[in-house]
């Protein structure tokens, strides 16, 4: 069947694209990374405290607090969708996790009797393996996120509702449910497994904050999934041309549901981690975080029109936001300026990319 090739095929009229005109060098992520590097140098000269170990740890920890959710929302943005419910999702997952943990650790409660019992001296004693309560509560917290993600995905992919409206509704639904289950009071991780919980969410390994370790592991996994798996290829195809994706036999509905589930799970995990750092899950936790998360993704080069984005961009966007916040504090500028500056940077980042793509 195969014809003898007239190989090597020669390209007489098409020049090879230069290395600096493709890949990361030609992407918004590349420019923002460069801007970040410049900013770091400026900060180094502006404040002697910036590059101290303590401050670096602080920065690493703080940006990890939104970066995992940003990874998740980047998946959705690449498909051309949007998820506004991430902030509420963080809160609700965290709240469910700590409420379940508290409930299971109370010897008197119906569910708690399976896990703990009261010893003769009045102390609670574990009935099972240590850590089981923690595992069950984490699964409960991530479970509600999974459900919310499924509902988002179902409404958007199967019923064909607009992602903006669906997730705006979910933002309100999930936040409302948070107030309902907690009566507006918030909740605290408690019981015999609370120490494990704090170690897993706000501890550190050899001086590296654990949220940062989770972030790196998840970002690497995301890079592999996006660029080296069929699922990732389909995510990009969906954002590039949804009709083409459908015609070529890609399971569009399934891929869409999957990205909203991934996004909700990432937000849920993020919320649980934040609650470990705060030591509680207040009912107004992470309010309007969806804006920070989406802003970070967009600054890092994810295109809201779909088809472009990646884990590096998500992280770079988060780091940039955090360095600016941190820098303003160190420079003793009123922290109220932060939000204004973030807005300016969002527009600048997109503008620079626009100018560049016109020049080529």
């Amino acid at each position: 069947m195969a014809m003898p090739l007239e190989s090597p095929i020669t390209f007489s009229n098409i020049g090879k694209i230069r290395w600096w005109q493709r890949g990361i060098f030609a992407s918004q992520t590349g420019y923002v990374l460069l801007a970040l590097a410049v900013l770091l140098v400026v900060m180094h000269f502006a404040s002697p405290y910036f590059f101290t170990e303590g401050n670096m740890q602080n920065v690493a920890k703080n940006f990890s607090f939104i970066a995992i959710a940003t990874l998740g929302v980047t998946f959705v943005i690449i498909t051309g969708g949007i998820d506004l419910s991430v902030g509420s999702m963080m809160c609700f997952s965290a709240m469910v996790t700590s409420m379940v943990m508290t409930e299971l650790s109370a010897p008197g409660s119906p569910a708690g009797s399976l896990f703990v019992h009261m010893a003769a001296d009045g102390k609670t004693v574990l009935a099972n393996v240590p850590g089981l309560i923690l595992v069950v509560s984490l699964l409960a917290g991530l479970g509600v996120a999974l459900l919310a993600g499924l509902v988002n995905g179902f409404c958007i992919a199967v019923l064909g509702l607009s992602p903006f409206v669906t997730t705006l509704g979910m933002l309100s639904i999930v936040r409302g449910l948070g107030y309902v289950v907690s009566n507006g009071r918030g909740s605290f991780p408690g019981g015999p497994d609370a120490d494990y919980f704090y170690a897993l969410t706000s501890g550190d390994v050899l001086g590296v904050p654990v949220p940062f370790i989770y972030l790196i592991v998840l970002a690497l996994a995301m890079a592999v999934v996006l660029h080296h798996s069929a699922f990732g290829r389909h995510v990009f195809a969906l954002g590039g041309n949804e009709k083409a994706a459908e015609l070529t036999g890609i399971p569009v509905v399934r891929v869409k549901i999957e990205v909203y589930v991934i996004c909700a799970l990432a937000a849920g995990l993020q919320g649980i981690i934040i609650s470990g750092w705060l030591g509680s899950a207040p009912a107004n936790m992470a309010t309007s975080y969806e804006l920070n998360v989406i802003a970070a993704a967009v600054i890092g080069g994810a295109n809201l029109a779909g088809g472009i984005g990646g884990p590096l961009g998500a992280i770079v966007g988060c780091v940039l936001l955090e360095v600016i916040r941190n820098g303003l504090v160190l420079a003793q500028v009123s922290s109220y300026w932060q939000q204004t500056l973030v807005g300016v940077i969002i527009i600048l980042a997109v503008l620079v990319d626009r100018i560049r793509s016109r020049m080529i």
């Binding site: 798996s229 290829r233 990009f236 015609l247 890609i250």
Partner: protein, 252 residues
């Protein structure tokens, strides 16, 4: 070209399709032989696209029988038609601009290799195979270039290379020359010749008379849901075909 004894790749008998009270197709018989290029012409609403969609598995016919390579087939979904060897090149080409040529060729049927429990994309094999296909089509298209940066002709080559992946026996092309420049039309007609050389039957759905007369062996004219003419290209003329399309001449 057309040898009488060859088994037709595609044979339609008495195909009809109704949408409610509207009769979109009525009693259409036709056949396509291996390596034959058949032009399907007709005005808007003549039933061309309904016929194509039935062959491609988008619709089920209300009446009649489809035989593919000698055996009767029933398609419920486009993927069924693709399974037996019918590929469609859509008018808008169905390409994802943000992906490379190779990624587009393999969209939906990526090659994978196993690494432990994971199935990862086999980028190297896909790029190599895509380059081979572009070579067969004699198109100067690099597998690693983004489709966004390509010319209309190259984009056509990518869409056609996709159909070569599965060694399709019948390729249907919907208006492939409608929206591209004159030089690129040449390239696309060249691509059709390449397919023909390799024994692939091609159905060209087009409004452009010169293109049909340049590459087709036979032309079929549809009007008001019926087949009005089915003639070898050298026994007809653009004038006659135009008359058949507009209804100035009823049948031939």
């Amino acid at each position: 070209m057309a040898t009488a004894q060859a088994t037709p790749v595609l044979q339609l008998t008495g195909i009809g399709k109704e949408f409610g009270a509207i009769r979109a197709l009525h009693d259409v018989d036709m056949q396509v032989l291996p390596g034959e290029v058949v032009g399907l012409m007709g005005d808007n609403g003549a039933g061309k696209s309904t016929l194509v969609k039935i062959i491609a598995g988008n619709f089920r016919p209300s009446h009649g029988e489809i035989r593919f390579a000698g055996s009767a087939v029933h398609f419920n979904r486009p993927i069924d038609a693709r399974g037996v060897g019918i590929e469609v090149v859509y008018q808008d080409l169905a390409l994802a601009d943000n992906l490379t040529a190779a990624a587009n060729v393999f969209l939906g049927r990526e090659l994978k290799r196993r690494i432990g429990p994971f199935a990862l994309l086999d980028h190297k094999a896909m790029a190599a195979r895509a380059l081979e296909l572009f070579g067969e089509l004699r198109s100067e298209t690099r597998p690693d270039d983004l489709v966004k940066q390509m010319s209309g002709g190259q984009r056509q080559a990518v869409a056609i290379a996709r159909t070569r992946l599965s060694n399709a026996k019948l390729v249907m092309m919907d208006e492939p020359t409608a929206a591209i420049s004159v030089r690129q039309v040449e390239q696309v007609l060249g691509l059709i010749h390449r397919l023909k050389e390799q024994g692939v039957a091609v159905m060209l759905i087009s409004h452009r008379m010169p293109d049909v007369f340049a590459v087709c062996d036979r032309v079929i004219v549809m009007r008001r849901g019926e087949k009005r003419a089915d003639k070898p290209i050298h026994q007809t003329s653009p004038e006659e075909v135009t008359a058949l399309i507009t209804g100035a001449k009823e049948a031939a």
